[in-house]
Subunit: 374 residues, 2 copies
């Protein structure tokens, strides 16, 4: 067994039901990974994350590198002990944030130099540095450093960007030798299917423990994303896990699963919770609305989360309007539970070979027309 | 049994070890009541409050009257169901906040008129209205509306203010007839012992289920407070509970217990937690300090709270510096636990008739000279 073992249980069309087996525990797939940006899934404890059904977390290399810094993480013996999460952790490479958040960044073949948004200090992040940080974090799934091609991108630009990402991927593979954790490659190439295929072939030639789709959900129209996803998803190596990075909405999780994606991550459930947007099988509840003030019903009567079992819409509305921290927390608990429940339903429907039926029920519930994929 | 039954278990000097028996549960005394200002002990759930050892909460009439408003609380069938706390709740009358927070207040014999800080609307709060709100909240301990005499106050001013409070107390007694909950009177009189004695006698003549000391910890020097406390504490009726309002520091809880106080409340443990001040038997730990960054020890190795059992000073320091909500929450859990543990130690030391020995150990631990009481 490598540092992660992917076990395919069954398929339904191109959808896959499987398991990721880590030394730190088994993850049922398709799986959604809550995001613990700065060493915490915002507002909730690891026990609450676990109670939602989550089996693996995502940690952000960029944020943790800046704050608290690697000497703090190293003193604690890694991210797991630091944040008190004993299950597997996937870490990104930091590249996405460097490109989108950092100021004054300069990209060369060697890597990226940028100014810390915290103290203005100059930091260099190349493939080897990105891996080194993830090794210090003690990540169970290490991501290669790549350049996330923006949208829109011309063929030529997307090609050059993708090719550099592939050269970096190769350096990452070398830098990871003998280290803890699975190493995942990232398919780039913008919306150009030919480049995407080339990127995947390059990664397969290098050889990775898993394959991620990067550069999606970066502002492109939904049908562009679905075009790439439906074309590439089924081409990803069958014996390795498939990860769709930074995605997404509940409907994106359904569509991703449809095309063979095994892993997702997104800040949506936690960020929207803090903004008072609550997910339910019948669509979104905006808890700040006056209509909820005296409502003694829970957010979702069918929901089994701690929040719905114990608190009313009226109470959550009050907490939100009073800027009480407990409100953000109770909403986060609910949304995390909703996302995990959705994944559980997706998994069950694949097992039962009724995924497309479930998909129809899901869209009927939220009152949205299912997307058409050519 | 009245709506609360006070059972004296034993005494040690003027310190009292007892129990408050409510329909909603028994409270071991001396007891500390965490403050749930706006229908939540900030950042924590009722289960976490309960796990700290707390058996009774304080709710703020003023805040709840303004937000979410009584129609919301009434729709939920009272504060207990609204906030999901099944134990007893004591509510203040709102008077203290009206006098200290509200703008444009006007006091007459009838009551207080003030402008809502939320929407500027004009609100009238008299003794009958203050009781009515507390009845809607479903409070287990209802406090009379009083005027909290500020510091300093001349004899004449303190006397007039106290006498009006006594007239209001009488109206409260009438307004409470046949209603749920114990009704507590509040001793006023500023720092003038003669007025304090008169106030207590007036309240005893009216007859209450419990007696509170108000108008302390309002900016007076510590020795003034102790003078009033040491003089009045032992004079409070032996067969009823004694409540020191809005107090205080750990050392105040020790001194209050010494002079026969049974109940305390204060925002200190929760507010200071959010500011990163953590209480320990050896004094305060300021968690933001750089010295804690790489410290893998808990806040207090001897502490049994969830925070100390699972997280390092380094992690808490990181959460504080990153403005993560989980930091405020973990610190609140610790401070609530510290305050309850202190009360538990006070109770045990009274049971063992070694209160003054415990008192010395307590001051030795925090490195503070015990106050001298004449």
């Amino acid at each position: 067994m490598t540092s992660v073992d992917y076990k395919l249980l069954n398929t339904d069309g191109t959808a896959r039901r499987g398991q990721l087996q880590f030394a730190r525990g088994t993850v049922e797939t398709p799986a959604f990974m809550p995001v613990g940006t700065a060493g915490t899934v915002k507002s909730v404890t690891p026990e609450e994350v676990r109670a939602s059904g989550a089996e693996i977390l995502l940690g952000n290399t960029f944020h943790l590198l800046l704050k608290p810094g690697m000497e703090v993480i190293a003193a604690h013996g890694g991210l797991h002990k630091f944040m008190n999460w004993s299950g597997p952790i996937l870490t990104d490479s930091g590249g996405f944030q460097v490109f989108s958040l950092a100021k004054l960044r300069k990209i060369t073949e060697q890597g990226v130099t940028f100014r810390s948004p915290i103290d203005g200090s100059k930091i260099f992040l190349g493939p080897e540095e990105a891996l080194d940080v993830q090794h210090t974090l003690g990540s169970d799934v290490v991501m290669v450093l790549d350049e996330c091609t923006g949208y829109p991108a011309t063929f030529e630009h997307a090609q050059q960007s993708m090719q550099r990402s592939m050269r970096w991927a190769e350096r990452c593979k070398r830098a990871h030798k003998g280290k803890h954790g699975a190493l995942f490659g990232i398919v780039q190439g913008g919306m150009h299917l030919q480049l995407r295929e080339q990127s995947l072939q390059d990664l397969i030639n290098i050889g990775f423990d898993g394959y991620a789709m990067g550069g999606l959900s970066v502002g492109e129209p939904k049908d562009e994303m679905l075009k790439v996803l439906s074309y590439m998803g089924p081409k990803l190596p069958a014996n390795a896990p498939h990860y769709l990075m930074g995605v997404g909405l509940p409907q994106d999780l359904v569509e991703g699963s449809r095309f063979g994606i095994d892993m997702f991550d997104c800040v949506l459930p936690t960020r929207n919770a803090r903004n008072g947007w609550l997910y339910t099988p019948n669509g979104i509840v905006k808890i700040r609305n006056a209509t909820h003030r005296t409502d003694t019903d829970p957010v979702d009567k069918s929901c089994e989360c701690y929040t719905c079992k114990n608190y009313s819409r009226g109470y959550l509305c009050h907490l939100y309007r009073s800027h009480e921290m407990l409100g953000a927390r109770l909403c986060t608990i609910h949304n995390l539970h909703y996302f995990q429940k959705l994944m559980q339903q997706i998994r069950q429907s694949i097992e039962d070979c009724r995924f497309m039926t479930f998909r129809k029920e899901f869209y009927d519930g939220i009152g949205v027309e299912p997307p058409d994929v050519a």
